[in-house]
Symmetry: C2
Subunit: 307 residues, 2 copies
């Protein structure tokens, strides 16, 4: 029986100013999945982690991705998967995207690598639709491609891989719940044109910073005048974490995806550690539990780690 093991990485969507269009893959944390090809049109899910996610295929992010691949193939195949998730659902680190992208990549590998990466994004977007109600691609794309991804447009899908800088990433996941759907709901449907102009200046600066490997420019451009001021209200301690991390010398950072995780980019491991200390101090004082990660930008995308 054909089977495959995949490693599917956490991702940071938005990258501060690039709401819905930018995302970046991290080396830690990551999910592991073991997928078998079945010769009958069925999806079987075994959750081997403690997150209590649904195992009915139609209600499971990986499940709906397998179903959409099966729908496309229409040749009587199916999939059985063991999920070993390590990216906590609701962390803002692309947990559902890791399941969706991992499922798409595993299915493709089992079928003989017949789909271009763009199609894997399309399959995986069905999983995101289930998880958040929206077919967004800013976690899935970097999860599949690795590095930093620009999604210029979703309909039609237009993906551009940007060079990823050799930066260190400090992440703190405070143990509070922020639902993606809530984080989307509280956004204003209208924004001031002058704020939008400031935002797209920063986006253009950030993208240029990645393409020129200009770390100062990346730092100056990591400013979000539209989304962060609204969403950060849902994250206790956010302003202080950011201020303290800046003092510690980080280039910049902000909310990871829709939160509650917060990430900071640093030029070196020492600064990344100082940022971690600053983050921990804030949440220790507030009295909220947390997980932290010091990691780097993943450049491979979802990995096939065994057959």
């Amino acid at each position: 029986m054909k089977k495959v093991k995949v490693k599917s990485h956490a991702t940071v969507a938005n990258l501060v100013c690039g709401f819905d269009i930018l995302g970046m893959a991290l080396n830690d944390p990551y999910d592991l999945m073991e997928v078998k090809l079945l010769e009958r049109p069925e999806v079987i899910i075994h959750n081997k982690d403690g997150f209590g996610l649904p195992e009915e295929p139609e209600k499971n992010v990986a499940g709906v991705v397998f179903l959409s691949v099966m729908g496309k193939m229409n040749n009587g195949i199916g999939f059985e998967v063991e999920m070993h998730k390590q990216i906590k659902p609701g962390s803002g680190l692309g947990s559902s995207a890791a399941s969706a992208a991992g499922a798409a990549a595993a299915a493709d590998h089992l079928l003989g690598n017949i789909f271009p990466k763009e199609d894997l994004v399309r399959f995986a977007m069905n999983g995101e639709k289930l998880a958040s109600g929206v077919k967004h691609a800013d976690n899935i794309t970097p999860c599949i491609y690795g590095g930093v991804s620009l999604i210029r447009s979703i309909f039609p899908l237009d993906i551009i891989s940007l060079p990823a800088p050799d930066l260190f990433v400090t992440v703190i996941h405070p143990q509070i719940e922020v639902k993606t759907s809530d984080a989307r709901q509280i956004l204003k449907k209208q924004v001031l044109l002058k704020d939008a102009i400031r935002q797209w200046g920063n986006i253009a600066g950030l993208v240029t910073g990645f393409l020129k490997n200009d770390l100062d420019l990346i730092g100056r451009s990591l400013e979000d005048v539209l989304i962060e001021p609204v969403r950060s209200i849902l994250i206790p301690g956010f302003d202080e974490v950011k201020a303290k991390c800046k003092e510690a010398g980080v280039l910049g950072g902000g909310i990871s995806g829709s939160g509650p995780s917060v990430f900071m980019l640093s030029r070196d491991r020492h600064t990344a550690s100082e940022a971690e200390k600053a983050m921990k101090d804030v949440y220790d004082r507030i009295g909220i539990g947390y997980h932290t990660y010091i990691t780097t930008i993943n450049k491979t995308g979802v990995e096939i780690t065994g057959e």
Copy 2:
């Protein structure tokens, strides 16, 4: 008596999706100025063109730039200038920026090249303030630097030069008046977040296209869902010009600055000529006079052509 001749180029602000943050310099048309350094704090302006612009320094775009340089120097110097403008005021081709940038560059040259280019932009912005009521820099910056400019932020000023592609530019200036201040007034102060997201996807795509010299990506990204739908109402024939030029094979294009000029980018001179024909056809039929230019992107910025 020290004197200098400068050549100051037309510019296309906004570049379709990059409202207020992107601009590009053209080789045609351009202004010529002859500037003398005076040993008394006075500004004397002689208009040698037929545009009837004011000659009182405080009411003249170049005049206020000279005054701001004099204010900075505070050493009893002055300037006498002969203006030979060829960029028609109100064309949307950066006529006031050419005067302002030319004045700043000429003054700096006469003073021994003491200011960095960024300071020339700051001086010249005073001229734009006089012309349009707003200190915008998306014409001045490419006029001074040449090529394609990204103005990430105006306060503080953050200018990034982007690589300019070897494209042909077709411009039509229909002989109607669109005041920059009017074109700014009709814009909505608020925009839909979803439209802003589409816009910044395109801006990120366009900037990436310039940096990677990816002409297809430049073409796909030349879409403006926010400003063009509003401003194009002021330009008769706009939609048809655009449609016909696309049929002729241009990469894309739109309103130059606040209009009424319209520009189109093409890979080769033949397509640029076909676009010119299509533009002329539309305005011949509507019965509006015009000037057209087929040119390329200027990469030098304002030029010192004689002493």
